[in-house]
């Protein structure tokens, strides 16, 4: 087993004259939850595209060990399939019908949607849909989960609840996670390591390690402290005295 399932080695990626990455190196350890935050347009989505093999670097190397699944902001579920059928997509590798049914039930239970197995995505709320998408991605044998602003289309309270749900799901189904988000609190609440990108061409501005066990409260001192530090790094907060200032 490889202890570093995701490695970027001095990756450069340009789109014409636009240089997104110049010399980016990054390693993600097995089972680690890494969150990437940064100013908009800094290349967070390009990073996920490179990691998921939808894009190739101009130079450098992206090494990826294991199966990768991505969860999108919205609309990633197949609207012509029911909740069960969508989750079963994640169990396609299982040939044993009974085992597949058992795992499907288990996933439905984990996301508390047992009563919605036969519903179609259009019949669910935004939060329910994202839960189904997470369940589909984590069903079966996923090694690496890529999250592309998975909760950004949801309202604030649902977003808070989804963070708790994700932490719970990952406790049951551990895997390596890369979360790309605009939501700094989300990063601080969920990640083992938060990476702050600079403006384009994106460099790693700073890395924060968080050790408090998940699920973490939004008001947990380590979360608050991390939020403050990230905001300072992004130039959105001025000094340490304003650690508890509200933006």
């Amino acid at each position: 087993m490889n202890s570093k399932p995701l490695i970027l080695e001095s990756v450069a990626r340009s789109f014409g004259a636009v240089e997104v990455f110049r010399d980016l190196s990054l390693e993600v350890a097995r089972g680690e939850f890494v969150a990437v935050v940064g100013p908009s347009g800094c290349g967070k989505t390009t990073l996920l595209n490179l990691l998921s093999d939808f894009d190739t670097p101009t130079s450098g190397q992206v090494i990826c060990h294991g199966s990768v699944r991505m969860v999108y902001q919205h609309g990633g579920l197949f609207p012509w399939l029911t909740v069960s059928e969508n989750i079963t997509m994640g169990l396609r590798h299982l040939t044993d019908e009974a085992e597949r049914a058992r795992q499907l039930r288990e996933m439905l239970r984990l996301i508390r949607l047992e009563g919605f197995a036969g519903h179609y995505p259009r019949q669910l709320s935004g939060g329910m849909r994202q839960r189904v998408e997470l369940a589909r991605a984590l069903a079966g044998e996923t090694d690496i989960l890529l999250l592309d602003e998975p909760f950004s289309a949801l309202d604030y309270l649902t977003r808070l609840r989804m963070r708790r749900d994700l932490a719970h799901l990952l406790h049951e189904r551990p895997c390596t996670v890369v979360l790309v988000t605009h939501d700094i609190e989300e990063a601080a609440q969920l990640a083992d390591r938060v990476i702050v990108f600079s403006e384009r061409p994106a460099q790693i501005r700073c890395e924060l390690h968080l050790r408090a066990p998940r699920p973490r409260d939004l008001t947990h001192p380590e979360v608050v402290e991390a939020t403050h530090r990230i905001l300072s790094e992004l130039g959105l907060e001025h000094d340490s005295e304003s650690a508890f200032a509200v933006i």
């Binding site: 998921s52 939808f54 990768v68 699944r69 991505m70 999108y72 609309g75 990633g76 197949f78 609207p79 012509w80 399939l81 997509m89 994640g90 396609r92 590798h93 179609y120 995505p121 259009r122």
Partner: protein, 259 residues
Amino acid sequence: MSMNVATSNDQARLLPLVVVLIALALWWTLSALHVFPESLFPSPVSVAKGFVEEFQTGRLLNDLIASLFRVITGFTLAVALGIPLGLWLGHRTSARTALLPAINFFRNLSPLAWIPFAILWFGIGDVPAIFLIFMASFFPVVLATIAAVASIPSVYFRVAQNYGYRSTELLTQVTLPAIAPQVITALRVTAGLAWVVVVAAEMIAGRDGLGFAVWDARNGLRMDLLAVGMIVIGIIGVVIDRLLVQLMKIQSVRWGYEQ
């Protein structure tokens, strides 16, 4: 409150029937008052008699079956060839660039303009009518399929790649279900077009069929039978549309109409 809603729903369902009854009453009044001569404006009673006559001789049923056969054959051929071609062109940019102007040309060329050639090439009977229906249906089906394929969100294919879908699975489990709602809408419109065209085709290139019946009634100065033909053509058109609407109610397709 719910009582009121139920009543208004029932009333709403009766409204179309009321309109039909008013139209019939108006028709009957106009002919009873002899506003227009009977030879130009048949009365409801004579039309009803004509209907019974046509039904009893078996001619009406015969014409109906002839027309339906042509429409179903021509339309099925157009769909069976048009959807695959549309799928192929939807995925192939260069082929699409090459063929789209030609397809648009034929799409905008009235199928009725083909009638002279249809008769010259295929004579009189089933084949020219089927040909004309095909020409009327094929190009709209191709264009609708191309548009539907082009509008599939790319995220579906990314997801499919993540979950290990292979080439045939991509077609049957992603592309086809993703385009189904739009294609069904196009089929509905096109079937209506095909039904319009069969009547015109049979008027000129037929020896039977509802279009021929209408033309024949006009030549025989039987305005009652002319009206019978028109009413049947209209009703069958509505029935075809209602049948295709059922496709839109399939659970795995409804997402396309509710967003």
